[in-house]
């Protein structure tokens, strides 16, 4: 590439042969015209383009789910109360009126009312039937229903459409092939299919929201979900959406398992893989093995809802606890589909920005597999208060097993910092934030695994706080950290690190203010999914709500920083951080086929104390005045 030839000599280390005058451009280069470009992206088999499309879909849905969460937090600013006012009217009678206060959102509910004439008699239509009209009623109950739809929307979007595909599909697609030195995934066409299945499934789910939303909670517990009076079809749409999304997840997982087995670059053994790949590999196994179960379960749910085949509804001869077993048999392993890739990113962030081999590489890799294995036998801990006490005892014991590999990972990460060489930039800040937040999330899992204490904490805000510390403090923070880590690689542009850091600090503060208070709400007796609460909890809820808006500001800044970088950022060098895994050895953004020729791996991903990686500091890397960027035609 002509515009990189003025850079410092990239050593023999680099797989990109800069002297060789090839004609392959960046994967971001547009095709001929607008339509050609759209077609090129829509039908692409390039894992990088698919990764980028997943990423934007995830970010848009994250925004949508986030707005719902902010709505939930706003609604909880005040408890729902009746306000009774007594007035004296013109005739001297006392009139008491009662109104509902503390509800911000109330979409009401349509209701058929008989039409009456002035005397209160029903009006009949031409056939002699009483005439009815549709009126919209607004009261305490419809307001609560609106709240229930908001939290269902938040949960369903965040779990099925954001967290599950965030790291695995978005960053996984982009970086898994590059990091093992492959040209693409093993089955590029299947990869394209997964993407369109994801889009299709998301459309179903989002459609059910725009048609009015569902109020089942993201867990669809029966018999509530099969009997709720929220419009029949919306529930079916939402479940169908989740069902379809499952296939996307299975196919992606399958694709990645095969890719890791078959397409590693020459010289890359299993223990030469970056730990992100190990984590993503463990995740893929869970996706392939567990997701079919939720598919079957949701299908049964749809059959019960539409055809009244009794499986879960006791009125039809079914058993609601069976649904809980089915549901969590998938959804518990899926918790690790969500968190393991986050762990994977954390490894990369720590290794690259602390310039140090991850402490206990093999222990961390095996811990990923260990967590994946144990994840299949702990689902029952979601049922401590519903299943029998023998089952609860067994599952409590099994659940504690998760703590061991997770603890091992945690200790190894902390030990990685020992005698390291740290650059405290935004990605590193996110890595440290994840360690901080995940430590809290993990440790608060202990009283939930302990039977005696879980009897109190189950289904309370303590659980809400715990899983937000793990899912958001762990996965989402790692995902955002990963975005800042890899943004220069993905789009070839640097971002403003100072502003990114301001946003990151706000996110960190906002997160803790929002969710730390919820631990106390939980231990004090606040149940989850409540639209209202006793007065005593108000101060805690208000602190939490303030925190959520700090979080909003933080994320808006981060979004602006990333967008600004894409549009107006300085050109990024191939290896801005001095990383050693293969993605840093190709161009930023990578060329169409990732590497000009198949890379040969001569060193491990974290051999910082043996090899000095080539590194281009953005400050030392000014573009010549008027130099064409990758995006402009005529660059070759």
């Amino acid at each position: 590439m002509s515009d990189t030839s003025s850079n410092p000599d990239p050593h023999e280390f680099d797989a990109v042969d800069h002297s060789h005058d090839h004609h392959e451009g960046s994967y971001l280069e547009p095709a001929g015209g607008v339509w050609a470009t759209i077609k090129q992206w829509a039908l692409t088999k390039d894992h990088k383009k698919l990764g980028v499309m997943y990423m934007f879909a995830v970010l848009i849905l994250f925004f949508l789910g986030g707005v719902a969460a902010l709505g939930v937090r706003a609604e909880l600013w005040e408890p729902v109360r009746y306000k009774t006012t007594t007035t004296v009217n013109d005739q001297g009678e006392t009139v008491t009126t009662q109104e509902v206060t503390g509800q911000i959102f109330n979409v009401g509910r349509p209701k058929e009312e008989p039409v009456t004439d002035a005397d209160g008699n029903p009006v009949l239509d031409d056939n002699g039937e009483p005439l009815t009209e549709t009126v919209r009623v607004y009261n305490l109950q419809t307001g609560n229903e609106t709240y229930n739809r908001m939290f269902t929307l938040h949960g369903a979007i965040m779990v099925f459409m954001v967290i599950i595909p965030s790291v695995p599909a978005a960053l996984g697609n982009f970086f898994l092939p590059i990091m093992i030195g492959a040209k693409d995934v093993a089955f590029p066409r299947l990869n394209l299919l997964s993407w369109w299945i994801y889009v299709f499934g998301s459309i179903f789910a989002v459609a059910s929201i725009f048609l009015g939303g569902v109020d089942t909670g993201w867990t669809f517990y029966t018999p509530y979900s099969t009997t709720t009076d929220a419009d029949h079809w919306r529930v079916v749409y939402m479940i169908t959406g989740a069902f379809i999304l499952g296939f996307s997840s299975i196919l992606t997982g399958l694709n990645f398992v095969v890719t890791v087995h078959k397409l590693r670059a020459p010289g890359m053994g299993w223990f030469d893989m970056p730990l992100f790949i190990w984590a993503r590999y463990a995740t893929a196994i869970i996706q392939v093995l567990a997701t079919p179960v939720i598919g079957v379960t949701l299908l049964l749910l749809i059959m019960e809802r539409l055809l009244h085949i009794g499986i879960f509804d006791p009125n039809l001869g079914g058993d609601p606890v069976l649904f809980q077993h089915f549901f969590w048999f998938y959804s518990h392993p899926v918790v690790y589909v969500m968190i393991l890739p986050g762990f994977g990113i954390l490894n990369e962030l720590l290794a690259v920005h602390a310039h140090k081999r991850i402490f206990g590489y093999r222990a961390v890799a095996f811990a990923s597999l260990g967590i994946a294995a144990v994840s299949f036998i702990v689902w029952g801990h979601h049922l401590f208060t519903s299943e029998g006490s023998l089952a609860a005892t067994v599952f409590s014991a099994l659940t504690f097993l998760v703590a061991i590999p997770t603890g091992v990972k945690m200790f190894n990460w902390i030990a990685t910092l020992y005698k390291s060489s740290i650059v405290l930039n935004t990605p590193m800040f996110y890595a440290l934030a994840v360690l901080f937040l995940f430590a809290i999330g993990g440790l608060t899992g202990l009283p939930l695994a302990t039977l005696a204490t879980d009897m109190h904490l189950h289904d309370s805000y303590f659980v809400v706080a715990h899983f937000h510390y793990v899912m958001m403090g762990g996965t989402i923070m790692a995902f955002v950290g990963g975005l800042f880590h890899w943004w220069p690689k993905m789009f070839g542009k640097m971002y403003n690190d100072r502003w990114a850091m301001v946003g990151a600090v706000l996110v960190f503060i906002g997160f803790n203010v929002t969710f730390f208070t919820q631990f106390f709400l939980g231990t004090r007796g606040m149940p989850r999914r409540y639209a209202s609460y006793v007065d005593e909890f108000q101060i805690w809820h208000q602190i939490s709500t303030i925190g959520s808006y700090i979080l909003l500001v933080g994320f808006l800044i981060e979004g602006a920083v990333l967008l600004h970088a894409m549009i107006a950022g300085k050109k990024a060098p191939p290896n801005p951080w001095g990383g050693m895994s293969l993605e840093w050895e190709t161009e930023s953004p990578p060329i169409e086929h990732n590497f000009p020729h198949e890379p040969i791996v001569k060193h491990g991903p974290y051999d910082y104390d043996e090899v000095v990686p080539p590194h281009w500091d953005p400050k030392d890397y000014p573009l010549p005045e008027g130099a064409p960027s990758h995006h402009e035609p005529g660059h070759h």
């Binding site: 009126t97 060489s421 009897m455």
Partner: protein, 383 residues
């Protein structure tokens, strides 16, 4: 040592407001605080190391070989695998032992029945009565909630079932919850606390008592957050008196009807101000001409109310879903008459109503047990 931890009052108060009140809740509080201090120390040590090494090791020069440092150590790996393993075994065993006390009820407990339905709790006592008192509006929910009296220092065993979806019985002060299902019984037991002297001497109370929130902890639909109640611990003699005569003979039917309207959960679906909820409002309902979607129009008289209560699906009001569960066996004849009195009082379609009629008037013989008559009349109303 664990008792030392529990003596740290402020932490207990920060997390729980107060000590756990059932006999077994002290154990789970101790375990929680033990885990808390363990976690606190672990967290502080980890974060201190993280921050210390981050500050100490800042600085990296590009193009310069980094400092050499150990990147694995099998002894350390084994240590931090084995020690946590032993610790979690201890946690499991301690947690299990306390759990066994939470779920295994003693033999001599007082047995009470709990019925859960969207969105109310009902406890049926051995005398067939339910709650006879309710909170004010806006106390635990926006709606008034039933108050259940429980004698102090007594083992209580609840046998629970649900009429519709899954609910969960949670009294935070007891640190215990149990899901309630439509297709099986589940049980919940607790040994109520002894009232302390400060509860006895409280001049604001009619009689010494202590109140605990009761919540539904399993999401059950629109008014999930209204599904609350109060467990009121009272002296044994107060409970014994109440069991003999749940409602006073001098209480008017109207007054009792109003209480039952809340304590039996009618309030969750039927308003009294004319706006419609899940069911029709009771305002101007009694005596009105009523349209049904599956039956001819009917004047809503006492028998129609009776049918609606015991066989709610027989006639579905125009414009309303078939949502109501049967109250067969949950509202007896006398209670039904009190409810009708209340309905009459807020309807302009009837004048046949004596506001002064009392509970005692229904029951001339002092022996008349309320539960004897409760099921007899239901069959003749169908036709």
């Amino acid at each position: 040592m664990i008792h030392l931890l529990a003596s740290v009052g402020p932490v207990q108060e920060l997390f729980f407001r107060d000590n756990g009140q059932a006999t077994y809740s002290r154990d789970s509080d101790l375990i929680f605080l033990g885990l808390f201090w363990f976690s606190f120390v672990t967290f502080v040590v980890m974060m201190a190391l993280m921050i210390y090494w981050t500050i100490k090791n800042r600085g990296w020069k590009k193009g310069v070989r980094v400092q050499r440092s150990a990147s694995h150590n099998n002894v350390m790996e084994l240590t931090w695998t084995i020690i946590p393993t032993l610790l979690v075994v201890v946690m499991f065993v301690v947690g299990f032992r306390a759990y066994a006390r939470q779920v295994v009820s003693p033999d001599q407990a007082i047995n009470l029945d709990v019925a859960a339905s969207k969105w109310s709790w009902e406890i049926t006592y051995p005398n067939g009565s339910g709650a006879t008192e309710t909170t004010a509006q806006n106390d635990v929910g926006a709606n008034a909630a039933p108050i259940f009296v429980i004698p102090e220092d007594t083992p209580i065993k609840l046998t629970m079932s649900s009429a519709d979806v899954i609910h969960s019985f949670w009294v935070p002060d007891f640190r215990m919850k149990q899901d309630v299902f439509p297709n099986r019984f589940t049980t919940y037991w607790f040994q109520s606390e002894k009232l302390k002297d400060m509860d006895r001497d409280n001049p604001d109370l009619d009689y010494p008592n202590k109140e605990h929130w009761l919540f539904c902890a399993e999401y059950c639909g629109d008014n999930h957050s209204e599904m609350a109640g109060i467990i009121r611990i009272v002296p044994r003699e107060v409970y014994a008196g109440w069991i003999r005569e749940p409602f006073g003979k001098d209480q008017t039917l109207l007054e009792i009807g109003k209480t039952l309207y809340t304590s039996k959960g009618c309030v969750q679906c039927h308003t009294t101000d004319g706006s419609s909820g899940t069911g029709p409002s009771w305002k101007d309902l009694f005596g009105s001409q009523s349209q049904y979607s599956n039956a001819p129009a009917w004047t809503l008289d006492a028998n129609a109310v009776r049918e609606a209560v015991y066989e709610p699906a027989a006639k579905i009001r125009q414009g309303f879903p078939n949502q109501m569960a049967t109250y067969q066996g949950r509202i007896n004849d006398k209670e039904l008459r009190a409810l009708i009195a209340y309905m009459k009082s807020i309807s302009t379609y009837t004048t046949d109503f004596d506001p002064a009629q009392t509970w005692g008037d229904l029951d001339p013989s002092a022996e008349g047990a309320a539960d004897g008559a409760q099921d007899s009349g239901a069959e003749d109303t169908g036709g």
